[in-house]
Amino acid sequence: MRHFFSFGTLESRIYTIFTVMIFGAIFIMQLVAFRYTEKTVKSTAIESNRVILHQLVSQIDSYIQGMEQISDALTGSREVLDWLAFRGGISGDMPPGGIQERLRHYIQAREDISEILLVRTDRQILTSDPEARINPWTALQDKPWFSRAAEAGGRTTVSSSYVQNLLWGRYSWVVSLSRGILDASGRLLGVLLVDLKFNRISSLCQSLIIGKRGYNFILDSKGNYVFHPTQQLVYSNIRTEPLEEVLGMASGTGESLYYLDGRYYMTEHSPLTGWYVVSVLYESDIITEWKSIQLIYTLIALVLFLVVGLVTHKVSSGITKPVRRLQEIMGRVETGDFPLVGELEGTDEIRDLARDYDIMVGRIRELMAANVKEQEQKRKSDLKALQAQINPHFLYNTLDSIIWMGEMGQCKEVVQMTSALSKLFRISISKGRELIPIRSELEHVRSYLIIQEMRYKDKFRYEMDVDPRILDLYTLKITLQPLVENAIYHGIKEAEHPCCLGISGWLEEDVVHLEVKDDGVGMDEKALSVIRERLKEGGGRPGRGGHGVGIHNVHERIRLYFGKDYGLSCHSSLSRGTVMLVRFPLLDMGDAS
């Protein structure tokens, strides 16, 4: 499990790098998208607010225009002109019922008209309601609608909103349309006043709004409030609106949008009324609008991130799984094993890598096998060389003995020894073959013993007791001679008494046993254990010279040829003699050739 959590592994690296990169990418994308959407949503909201503002202005305008038609109809009326010009039957003192009837008719038809009345130059006022009393405490000349209409010639003027108190006991919020009525020569005959109920305009302003908190307000041409939804706050200075900036905007110079304290102001001027209609849009309303968009964006990012995360995981593990498998298999090399990877799921690169590795492992295996073989060959040839090396002392001593016997005229002995020596060499060469019949091996050791017996006269005698059934079995050549040599030089030669050397051979469960036994000085425990230790070591090169070089070589050769289960074993006790036993398998005759 360890490597999943460490940054060192390929998988976690790929995963982490991808995750970080994708995280960053999504994050940046979201930031950009957010900013962009915020902008778009904002400008859309502002645009639609502007459209609504325009609609509001045109509605107010068309409303006022509609009212103007009424005033047109009235000012063009013969009856009205007559009354204003003091013409007609009734000297003008009595209000003509016909005009009043018409005025009343208009008011009844249009419930948004609060009052229509005519003012004559003698300050006589003609209202729609004959019952109505003119407020005695009001002065016409103080009324802006009156003075402005008088000055404006025949044009209609629109007042700001105010409380009309012209009729006694009646107070109403109105916007007044007033218009001077002129005669043909342009002389002012009177003024027509149409009072519009202000709540019509205020409800228009309050209905056409955007957002939860947005509102509209209206300023007249002088910058006074015609309408404000929280007028009282404005007049008591609890709320202030940036009037200068708003009016500046309407004049066409500078920005068309003004921002203050989280509110957007936009203005439209109505040329008909001379008013400035201002629409206020709260930024927080816009934000709530795109808050949901933001939520969706974030959700998308989340889902995207999860999906990409899973895919990344899939991809990274797809890449790294075969690599890890490869790694596991290759890791076994440490233990000295060279397993093949075989068929592997993964990308082409990984498969190539696996195949190349397999080829490499194959080569390594071949090379290792070749190496082992070579080593074996080398050791065999080493040993061959060793075994070919007849102790020069032995040859020299033998030849010395022959010379000496010749001088002594012992012709028979010379012949005997020389022929034994000849046989010894012939068998030890045996045409370069490694394996020879046990019979030849026994012949070889006998020749050797003949020579040694002649040299060490009366020192020892030998016996051979070999199962005749094994005589034709094969053995490694020069197996017994080193053992016999060892027995003579280290066992018998040192002994005080004439000794006996026995060579025996038998077959036991397909294993050939050859034994060389002497009753010489034997070995103490220490020497025996040294020899046994050497035999056990195996493989290693025996020390040159000294005790048991020959024995060791025999042991090594048997093990090289027949395996580690076979070889030499040694038993000995001080002054009782030594037994050397050689064990090797029953050889198939086919093998021998």
């Binding site: 999943f4 995750t19 407020n135 927080s284 934000i287 990012a301 999860l306």
Partner: protein, 330 residues
């Protein structure tokens, strides 16, 4: 194990992404996520009847502010201003409903205090509007400075009386032991000094009673002026003066802005009237409530101010809406 680990890592990162992004835009959007939907209960002095212009305008201010500050409000009240028991009952019922805040216009300075304490015990903050209670618990008191308003009325009466040497002014008040009545009277007396008669007459907001009181008062030759301390008493006093035909002989300084008062003002029966700002009262009390709910500090007393209106300034643009509120009536 491994799969789980990466999944958790992904989830964690995604969650982190989500948090960072939404936090960024939460802070950018400022006041978002405020106490929307939490109801503020408003208990006024009287339910909104046709004649009670004052409370209609307060209500308008309440609702306009509720829209602007994005809070939900619910307005109730007893049928009549004198129905103190009913108001206590209503308030107690509302406390049971555990609203987030209560705005109260107390009908009685003393008797409502117990209910306010009960609300406080339940952790419901209380703001008083127009008329307070005898308790230090309300976080905020949004009202006309009635002492100052009374002083304005008194000062004007004093200036009127300079033209009538030897004459004194009588005070016709509305309900005994009402905070507004007490404060206004104190203001008037402070300004008039010994020009005011020592006795105070109470009409219990009843026009008829004020009228009868005034008829009696007009028989007293010493009286050169009457200060009426609320709408009902003003109407009664003005009617008596008008009927007696001595408009302009006996000075009247009134309170509030009933339509009839406006007519009397134009006629010259009433020389001046002190007008409160009920719209601002409603608006500012909800504003204070919104601030309380946002755990912001609020002023203990918010003075909504008063204006002395005479015939000369009654049609000034700034005062028109004060005197003739937009409520469909004008």
């Amino acid at each position: 194990m491994k799969r789980g680990f990466f999944l958790i890592l992904s989830l964690f990162a995604a969650f982190f992404l989500f948090m960072v992004l939404s936090f960024m835009y939460d802070t950018a959007s400022g006041e978002e996520g405020r106490s929307r939907g939490t109801a503020i209960e408003v208990v006024l002095k009287s339910a909104l009847g046709e004649d009670m212009d004052f409370w209609t305008v307060v209500d308008q201010g309440l609702h306009d502010a509720a829209r602007e500050f994005d809070v939900a409000i619910h307005v109730t009240g007893p049928p009549h201003e004198k129905d103190i028991d009913r108001q206590i009952e209503i308030l107690d019922e509302i406390i049971e409903e555990d609203p987030s805040l209560i705005i109260l216009a107390a009908t009685d300075y003393v008797r409502l205090a117990a209910s306010v304490e009960k609300a406080q015990d339940r952790g419901i903050p209380v703001i008083t509007v127009d008329s307070g209670v005898k308790s230090k618990l309300p976080l905020c008191f949004v009202a006309t400075d009635n002492l100052e308003a009374g002083e304005k009325a008194g000062e004007y009466m004093k200036s009127l009386l300079t033209g009538l040497p030897g004459k004194k002014a009588a005070i016709v008040s509305h309900i005994r032991e009402t905070a507004t009545a007490i404060e206004r009277e104190r203001g008037v007396r402070k300004a008039l000094g010994d020009l005011a008669l020592e006795e105070t007459w109470f009409c219990d907001t009843n026009v008829e009673k004020a009228y009868r009181i005034s008829r009696e008062l007009l028989k007293n030759p010493e009286i050169g002026g009457i200060v009426a301390l609320n709408e009902g008493s003003s109407l009664g006093v003005a009617r008596a003066v008008a009927e007696a035909g001595n408009a302009g002989d006996v000075m009247v300084v009134a309170f509030d802005n009933a339509v009839q008062e406006m007519i009397y003002l134009e006629e010259g029966v009433i020389q001046a009237t002190v007008v409160q700002r009920p719209y601002n009262m409603g608006y500012l009390s909800v504003k204070a409530a919104a601030e309380v709910l946002e755990n912001r500090k609020v002023e203990a007393v918010v003075d909504t101010g008063s204006v002395l209106i005479t015939k000369d300034n009654m049609f000034e643009r700034g005062y028109q809406e004060l005197l003739f509120p937009f409520s469909g009536k004008f």
